[in-house]
Symmetry: C2
Subunit: 315 residues, 2 copies
């Protein structure tokens, strides 16, 4: 485990609880000491941690912020070049590209656990953080299916459910359902505060809900959103187009019918998605079209909840 | 009480609980029958209900949707022209203007209880609906202070706290903290649903929170937002400007710093507003500058929590 913050630290704990042999490295002396006190092995250098991974054919997990990924990948290329490699960074296409350029012999599977990030650091972590969470694992033409299966087992061992997606598909989805919500919350919080104390005195549920994630630490929001620039620009353009159309309709005809009805339909779609009964199924991981089958599952809103021999068990 | 839906029906119950003699009228036979079954007097015509108000010098409360206000005001002008008059419509300047044009002899005080509206009809109401809620009462140059005091006592009797504001100040504030949140929720819900099942499968707290009020019945959202056209256009323009600036910065420099920091400051402002200790005070309702004092209280985020002789008790 390279990086022992909230996500890396939680994953280290969860992996050990599942019976795996684990060790880690972090540049944070605070996190290193805390993890050591909690009885975990923390190597004093990234090189040593990676050489140990090579010796033991371990899965290497990159759990560092996006700006530190390139440097970590260079160390992977030098000391554990052919290990199974995954990461937990919240954006996938840039990491995928960096791996292909820097550590191309690694058997890489991109990952993104959809788990809370309001606190940070080893101390905030817990082995239960990923229980019942969705965890994206990327599927690309280059994906090594055996490596994918190894990482999938690790994710399942942590109590999470796997959503297979392409790196680009993941980045487009999170731009819409995570990064755009953070930007709109920031915009709303600023417009509301500009209304002064009277406006804030009248603020009730719609405003509290709509601005809640503006309370997230700005550096976390920026890292997440700025790292997903292209897909987020598309999502913002979509939002600007819709909000501009609402503005135009309100100014010209006085009607917000199209905007409000489309929003209500979108809201209903989410409720239907969440309430829909899902058929259990299985995907043969040895089939020649396994990548298409995995991507089809994710595109349809399905998840992998277990592995049984050569089969992924799905809902 | 003209109109016996969620708000009117709750106010009728709360007023009776406070020891007042109450009666009502509604065009809904369902609400009329339900209120009658619950032991309330429901007049068979609006004219009779208003004549009774004139005889007894009662407070007339208009609790009908905005489109029905003009017709109700015409009946007030005909049958109870000089009664103390208030309303509970969610937009204030248009009602204020309609009163001046149609029932100008009424001693009018605009009102807006900031209380939940996800359900509707008499059956959804409760005497407790307004407990600890903020309730705007308008203060204009024309406001009759004695009438204002009568309406204030009614509001306090219902367990609510009074926020004094001008009609225009109220409408600007609710555009920012209620109507814009509904529009942004609609936009986000549509952009998210356009991402398909993969996006919805990955949707977590930020998306659920940001889209929650898109579940409100579209006709309620439209009535509220479309009735506040001018102020809402200003708030939407503010949001469009900020979102457009974020888009430009992300595309050109890759930085969302200004947007995210402003949003976080806005969020912090709301927390500070809510957590700030407030000094108890009093406003002399017989003072010549009482209107300025009331408006100053509301503009500073203050509320009236009681009446004591000629004084309004404030926090």
């Amino acid at each position: 485990m390279i990086g022992l913050g909230l996500i890396g630290g939680s994953l280290l704990r969860a992996a050990r609880e599942s019976g795996r042999q684990v060790w880690g490295f972090t540049t944070s002396s605070v996190d290193a000491e805390a993890a050591t006190v909690d009885g975990f092995t923390v190597e004093s250098g990234v090189d040593g941690a990676l050489r140990l991974a090579r010796e033991r054919d371990a899965i290497v997990v990159i759990a560092v912020p996006l700006p530190a990924v390139d440097k970590t990948l260079a160390a992977v290329a030098a000391h554990a070049p052919e290990c199974v490699l995954t990461d937990v960074v919240s954006v996938k296409a840039p990491v995928e590209m960096a791996v292909r350029q820097t550590a191309s012999r690694a058997r890489y599977v991109g990952g993104h656990p959809m788990a809370g990030t309001t606190s940070s650091g080893w101390a905030a972590g817990s082995a239960d953080l990923f229980r019942d969470a969705s965890w994206v694992l990327t599927v690309e033409d280059e994906t090594d299916v055996a490596a994918w299966r190894d990482v999938a087992q690790l994710v399942l061992d942590c109590g999470a459910r796997i959503v297979p997606a392409s790196a680009a598909g993941h980045d487009d989805a999170v731009a819409r359902i995570s990064h755009l919500p953070h930007l709109l919350a920031a915009v709303l919080a600023a417009v509301g505060a500009d209304g002064g104390d009277l406006a804030l005195a009248l603020a009730a549920g719609s405003y509290s809900d709509g601005t809640r994630v503006a309370g997230t630490r700005p550096e976390l929001v920026r890292a997440m959103c700025e790292g997903n620039r292209g897909p987020l620009l598309d999502a913002v353009d979509d939002a600007l187009g819709r909000l501009g159309a609402a503005r135009g309709a309100l100014a010209s005809t006085g009607s917000l019918g199209a905007t409000v009805e489309a929003g209500h339909r979108g809201w209903q779609t989410l409720q239907d998605h969440r309430g829909a009964p899902r058929e259990p199924g299985r995907i043969d991981l040895t089939a020649p079209d396994v990548r298409e089958a995995l991507l089809g599952l994710g595109a349809g809103g399905g998840r992998i909840v277990g592995l049984d021999g050569d089969f992924a068990l799905t809902v």
